[in-house]
């Protein structure tokens, strides 16, 4: 991706996570230093904004922390307190910036960025919902926050299970995560998704597709490694490389149409919104699969020419003995 566009991407995606992190920090003033330290370590991938190629190394400490959290949670059997509680609370505190780091640290992989954004938004909604159940004064302790967070998630899973077993989405159990719709958060979330996708329209260096090449064998070393000057260079100069104009607004139109469709269905038949989203997504994937499959079908064998056999490097035509 163009480095200039990367800057805009950071500016567009960052605010929603900064908002989530800031809201959480304001609400949990007075937590132990261990929790803040853990949050700092978890937020290390944020540095990928400057060094995207070092993202794996930046993720390594947080991965170790996640493993530790899983072990602590497994053995605690209940909401942990003390250092264990600080550890988990600090992890939750740093998670928005962790997701932000991944979203902006993988500019060449839109899928990963999108997934990080969506998961980060989900985590932020869960955090906001947990905070909403706690009194703002005095500030909740780590264990209180963790209890609220786990309760919210538990209730949400319970409601989902109830809905799936027959109660349905409309008129059934209440979903704790469904009701959160802070206007600032909503605006920042849309800014983030726009900032994630729109710079791709002007992307100039999408990775090239691997072109099939003949496999290398045990070659003799190149006889002359430094080529001499060419006295009789080709008379026809190569054409220059033209930069592509970009993707155009077609994908944006597709996104707008999808959102409009979602809204219209939500207004007309809210009970079927999620069902129709599922069906629409499956139809799109199916259609895409059919297009790709049609290309591969043998009905038009000239459409997909077979790869050439390896260039003959050895004489194959046997000549009859000449007298």
């Amino acid at each position: 991706m163009n480095p200039d566009l990367r800057r805009y991407r950071v500016l567009a995606v960052g605010p929603v996570f900064a908002f989530a992190m800031g809201s959480l920090l304001v609400a949990v003033v007075g937590w132990s230093p261990l929790a803040y330290l853990v949050a700092l370590v978890v937020a290390l991938p944020l540095l990928a904004a400057a060094w995207p190629d070092r993202l794996p190394w930046l993720l390594a400490p947080s991965m170790a922390l996640f493993l530790l959290v899983a072990v602590v949670t497994w053995f605690a059997q209940t909401v942990p307190t003390g250092a264990g509680g600080d550890l988990i609370a600090g992890t939750l505190l740093g998670l928005p910036l962790w997701f932000l780091g991944i979203a902006i640290g993988t500019p060449e992989r839109p899928g990963i960025s999108l997934l990080a954004l969506e998961a980060g938004l989900l985590e932020s909604v869960a955090t906001f919902s947990a905070l909403a159940t706690l009194p703002s004064d005095p500030s909740p302790t780590e264990s209180e926050f963790l209890t609220a967070w786990f309760l919210i998630d538990g209730h949400h899973l319970g409601a989902l299970a109830s809905a799936l077993t027959g109660a349905g989405l409309v008129g059934g159990p209440s979903f704790p995560l469904a009701s959160y719709a802070d206007p600032v958060f909503v605006a920042l979330a849309f800014l983030a998704v726009g900032g994630l996708l729109l710079p791709m329209l002007r992307s100039e260096n999408a990775p090239t597709v691997g072109v099939p090449r003949p496999p290398r064998r045990d070659l003799a070393p190149t006889v002359r490694r430094v080529p001499p000057p060419i006295l009789y260079a080709t008379a026809l100069p190569p054409t220059g490389s033209r930069p592509p104009p970009g993707a155009g607004l077609l994908p944006v139109a597709g996104a707008v149409l999808a959102v409009l469709g979602f809204e219209v269905v939500g207004l007309v038949a809210p009970a079927y919104t999620f069902t129709l989203v599922t069906l629409g997504a499956l139809a799109a994937v199916l259609f895409l699969g059919l297009l790709v499959r049609a290309r591969r079908s043998p009905r038009n064998p000239t459409a997909v020419p077979a790869l050439p056999k390896r260039a003959t490097s050895r004489p194959s035509a046997a000549r009859p003995p000449s007298a």
Partner: protein, 438 residues
């Protein structure tokens, strides 16, 4: 076709939708729907537009050029691709090159944006490294969508056959005068005392002279005179190549047969440059495979070089006595036989075959590859005891074979992967100077 990046994006879009469904939160679902709609529209639109993408969408022209190139020669070529109509796309245009070609200048690949009416030309210069028959092309065109999520690849036939003949560095010495009117060619004196049939002069007898050369009619009892002869001014040469798999020892492009062909080409070049001697070719594997009688002239040399370029291994064995017998049957004039063989076959009756060859006035010189020397030492810890053992076994067999051949009085020149050119040059110089290898 969906690229890896595309699979990743569509999977992530579906996962985002799933997260939105899990949260039952309108905001999250809306974000996921927008992102999925964006990515899916781009991919579907590309696949729909380029569903018929194929070679018929292009016109391709390959520039003219030679069909025969020496190993050390440069080949400049270009491929021009015209896209008359259709939607614009990002393209990778890639002209397939044989792996034995070194790129010297230019680039056989171009990444650019192609719109209707555009022309893309890739232009480059290569130098082949290994002799043989090759094909330049075909040309690949890979169309990619703007986000790098999908691609379509097509192959455009624009093949050109190319024969890479062995290098010809003798030609660089420059064109000299007509050989028949010159006594010196390539630094070698052509007319020397030797064992030919052309009378040169008389001189007093010395005790080391052959008494059959005494000029009895000119001699007196006090002074015996002997006749001196010039060496044959026009000599016959025959290169015999062993094509059995025994000559495949070594790395690709530098095995025993390749080195032998290189040395044969050197000899051919020397003779072609000198333009007085005649040279032929005999290849052997399970019998005589090819026989080009000794000759001269540009057409003959071209034929010889083409056959050298295409020489490759054949099934069958190559017993040295049989090879010498077959050569004896085919040769008329006195000929110098340059035999490149691994000498793996049975050497029984070699004495008889060689005696018959000599009786017809021919002389044989053997160039035997030391096959243990055709593999470079592996770096670091690659040297194993097994390899050392195999090398010692092969060296032992090699020296026993050499001893057997030398015991028959045949001059033998062992060579390894560094080449046999110096041996051939030495032998040819000796023949030109003295009429035989001393």
């Amino acid at each position: 076709m969906i690229a890896r990046r595309g699979w990743e994006a569509i999977t992530a879009g579906l996962a985002a939708l799933l997260i939105g469904l899990y949260s039952v939160n309108g905001v999250l679902e809306l974000v996921a729907v927008a992102a999925f709609g964006f990515l899916a529209t781009e991919m579907i639109a590309f696949e729909w537009r380029f569903r018929g993408f194929g070679p018929a969408w292009f016109r391709v022209d390959r520039s003219g050029g030679p069909r025969r190139v020496p190993c050390d020669g440069d080949l400049s070529t270009s491929v021009e691709l015209t896209y008359p109509r259709g939607p614009g796309f990002r393209a990778d245009v890639y002209d397939v090159l044989p792996e034995a070609f070194d790129l010297l200048e230019g680039n056989p690949r171009s990444s650019t944006y192609i719109s209707a009416g555009a022309t893309v030309r890739v232009s480059y210069t290569v130098r082949p490294r290994v002799r043989g028959a090759y094909v330049l092309g075909p040309t690949f065109v890979v169309a990619r969508d703007a986000l790098g999520l999908c691609y379509r690849a097509t192959l455009i036939r624009s093949d050109r056959p190319l024969t890479v003949v062995p290098a010809s560095f003798v030609g660089r010495l420059g064109r000299l005068g007509v050989a028949l009117f010159s006594r010196v060619q390539v630094g070698l004196s052509m007319r020397r005392r030797g064992f030919g049939t052309e009378f040169r002069s008389l001189r007093p007898y010395q005790t080391t002279d052959d008494i059959r050369h005494i000029a009895w009619k000119r001699s007196t009892l006090q002074q015996l005179l002997v006749k001196e002869f010039d060496q044959e001014s026009r000599q016959e040469f025959l290169v015999a190549l062993d094509l059995t798999t025994s000559m495949d020892a070594g790395l690709w492009g530098r095995n025993a047969l390749d080195v032998s062909v290189e040395a044969s080409a050197l000899l051919t070049n020397l003779i072609a440059h000198q333009s007085e001697d005649r040279i032929g070719l005999l290849t052997y594997a399970g019998g005589v495979y090819q026989y080009l009688p000794p000759g001269r002239g540009p057409a003959h040399y071209r034929r010889l070089f083409d056959n050298l370029a295409l020489a490759s291994h054949r099934p069958g064995g190559c017993p040295l006595p049989a090879l010498l017998s077959e050569a004896t049957k085919r040769l008329g004039l006195r000929t110098h036989l340059f035999v490149f063989t691994a000498a793996d076959g049975p050497l029984k009756d070699l004495d008889e075959a060689y005696a018959i060859l000599r009786a017809h006035g021919h002389r044989a010189y053997l160039f035997v590859p030391e096959r243990a020397g055709f593999y470079p030492d592996p770096p670091g810890d690659g040297r194993t005891a097994a390899m050392e053992w195999a090398r010692s076994e092969e060296l032992g067999r090699f020296h026993r074979t050499l001893a057997t051949i030398r015991s028959e009085g045949i001059p033998v020149f062992p060579f390894d992967r560094r080449g046999a050119g110096d041996r051939v040059l030495f032998a040819y110089t000796q023949i030109r100077a003295w009429g035989t290898v001393r």
